[in-house]
């Protein structure tokens, strides 16, 4: 069923001279089992948006329904929403604090009121999902490498068994291999656990490669909400928003401008290579 967002707005410092409209009449549906990329420049409203989705921020107007129930309704169980809609903040490794990795991952489930045995079971599952080596379960989280720390932090949210997992720039500050690892991991988790993933990212190349659908925010509004190929056809508009298209899109556009009859819809290196080769076969080169 998932989340249904109906005409929501959010104002910071409402009624003061500092009032800022962070969300401006946004509507969207977040169904089960979808990989969504959320892009927008700094201050576009995307962080505010994801925080309304799990009830961390209460909307100023409009409604959010989770499985058909209004999340601001009297009878609605917010605790359930917060475990079902998991939020991994930027640099989540800064939030690690326990004595060892496994205790850190168990903290969330324990907090839900689960028994130690159940919390441990979930923690073990979560650590397996993020491919944490077993030898590190008893290590201090502070002795892990940067990529491992980040995976431990993601496991902490996974252990809550979310149905929707929101990750705010999970690859910031990682090297190319670390980026590929984390994104590959997230794509794998989505397949195995049938979750909906919302990936907040500044990297158009990453978004283009992994997601089924892209939501573009700007000035608190949801400006585009479509499949990646269609969204990235709006290169000029995206640039005006302080965003960009994937590098490959620019390459293909140039090839087209220079007279090669290739489609500029390719978003990844693999797609581009296939498109160029197909074009050459056509010319019998």
């Amino acid at each position: 069923m998932g989340l249904k967002v109906e005409d929501i707005s959010f104002l910071y410092e409402r009624g003061t001279a500092m009032q800022v409209t962070a969300l401006d009449h946004v509507s969207a549906e977040i169904p089960d089992n979808q990989f969504i990329g959320l892009i927008g420049h700094t201050g576009s409203g995307k962080s505010t948006f994801v925080q309304t989705l799990n009830g961390l921020l209460k909307v100023t107007s409009g409604h959010i329904y989770y499985n058909g129930e209004d999340i601001d309704g009297d009878k609605f169980d917010k605790k359930k929403l917060r475990s079902d809609v998991g939020l991994v903040f930027q640099y989540p490794e800064h939030q690690l604090f326990e004595v060892d990795v496994i205790s850190d991952v168990m903290f969330g489930p324990r907090n839900l009121g689960l028994s130690d045995a159940e919390a441990k079971k979930r923690a073990l599952e979560a650590l397996e999902s993020v491919r944490m080596p077993k030898s590190l379960y008893k290590s201090s989280p502070f002795d892990l490498s940067g990529g491992q720390k980040r995976r431990a932090a993601i496991a902490g949210v996974l252990a809550m068994r979310p149905k929707i997992l929101i990750l705010d720039e999970p690859t910031a500050g990682l090297d190319p291999k670390g980026r590929d690892e984390i994104l590959g991991l997230i794509a794998g988790m989505k397949r195995e656990l049938n979750m909906t993933i919302i990936l907040v990212s500044h990297s158009m190349d990453d978004v283009a490669r992994y997601v089924d659908r892209i939501m573009v925010m700007g000035g608190g509004k949801l400006l585009y909400d479509d499949e990646p190929v269609k969204v990235f056809r709006h290169v000029t508009e995206l640039e005006e928003l302080g965003l960009a298209a994937p590098q490959i899109t620019y390459i293909m556009k140039l090839l087209k401008e220079r007279g090669l009859d290739v489609s500029s819809d390719a978003l990844t290196v693999e797609e581009a290579a296939a498109e160029i080769m197909a074009h050459r076969r056509e010319l019998h080169v």
Binding site: S145, P246, Q247, Y250, L254, L260, I276
Partner: protein, 309 residues
């Protein structure tokens, strides 16, 4: 400008009581030579020693063994400390950790004021520095009203106001959106070109390194590769072994080569790729190619209007 000889850096690991329990060698015998006015990029995976190296360049860390000279000054020599830090300014990853004042221009003036520059000259330097990074129009603003890219440019202006010969940028774009990334790299390149400031850019974004004069690639505390961007990025396999990557256009050229196309190994820009691909179209088969071009061009004429309008 910067000369490093046989640099070794050991971090001391401590147990719970704070006793030294062992050492971790983050830099393991690095030699490096940077000439004045060069634009240098340093690449390497997380934990390869890049940031440790950067901290040696402005005397935030001191060699365990070996020597670092900044503009001829040995960083180990205590009397050089402040001069070294002024000569080699540093910009870090998180824009929010580097800005202290309530107003942009005051933030930029903080450094010069701190070293006793006369008031009038401080204002001169603030103006010059903010203009150099394109932030003069925002001088009266509160830094928390700025975007990430703008904040980083203010941080860079704060460094320029100290009139350094060299600026070390340690992943300055890691937390920025695409526009912010472009702004910061452009500002750094402009300082390099117009003011001749030596730039050392540490980054995880391969595309940011393609305009460097020279790239150093670090791995396990050593310099694993060095050369021009073309020399470095033509080695796709080697870069992957080092847990790195190459720019997407270089990777595309590499894939096309693997599929049998005769394309140079060292493509760095989309223009070069277009040249290489177009250069191979059959010239003798003029008719088909000609018709083809004409068809594309007539389509082209309409396209720009469509997207801009």
């Amino acid at each position: 400008m910067i000369k490093i000889e046989k640099l070794i850096h050991d971090y001391i690991q401590r147990d719970d009581e704070g006793n030294a329990a062992g050492t971790f060698r983050a830099i393991d015998g690095v030699d490096l030579d940077v000439r004045p006015g060069q634009f240098i990029a340093v690449l390497g995976h997380n934990g390869s020693g890049k940031s440790t190296l950067a901290k040696h360049l402005n005397a935030l860390l001191f060699p365990t063994e070996g020597t670092v000279w900044v503009d001829g000054m040995d960083t180990k020599d205590e009397k050089n400390l402040w001069e070294v830090r002024r000569e080699a300014g540093m910009v870090f990853q998180n824009p929010d950790n580097q800005i202290i004042a309530q107003v942009v221009e005051e933030d930029v003036g903080f450094g010069p004021e701190n070293i006793g520059v006369p008031t009038e000259e401080i204002w001169q330097r603030v103006e010059e520095s903010l203009k150099a990074v394109g932030m003069w129009a925002h001088r009266k603003k509160s830094p928390n009203r700025l975007s990430g890219g703008q904040k980083q440019r203010v941080s860079i202006a704060g460094v320029i106001a100290m009139q350094p010969k060299c600026i070390v940028l340690d992943e300055p774009t890691a937390m920025l959106d695409p526009n912010g990334r472009k702004e910061v790299i452009k500002a750094a390149m402009q300082l390099n070109r117009t003011k001749g400031i030596t730039i050392i850019l540490i980054t995880h974004y391969m595309e940011e390194a393609i305009n460097a004069d020279k790239i150093f690639v670090m791995d396990r505390g050593k310099i694993a590769m060095q050369g021009t961007p073309r020399e470095i990025f033509s080695q796709v396999e080697r870069m992957r072994e080092l847990q790195l990557d190459v720019p997407q256009v270089t990777l595309l050229a590499y894939e096309l080569r693997k599929k049998g196309l005769d394309i140079p190994v060292s493509i760095l820009t989309k223009e070069e790729l277009a040249d290489a691909l177009l250069g191979q179209l059959p010239e003798e088969d003029g008719e088909t190619a000609g018709e083809h071009d004409a068809a594309v061009q007539s389509e082209e004429k309409e396209a720009p209007h469509g997207t801009q309008g």
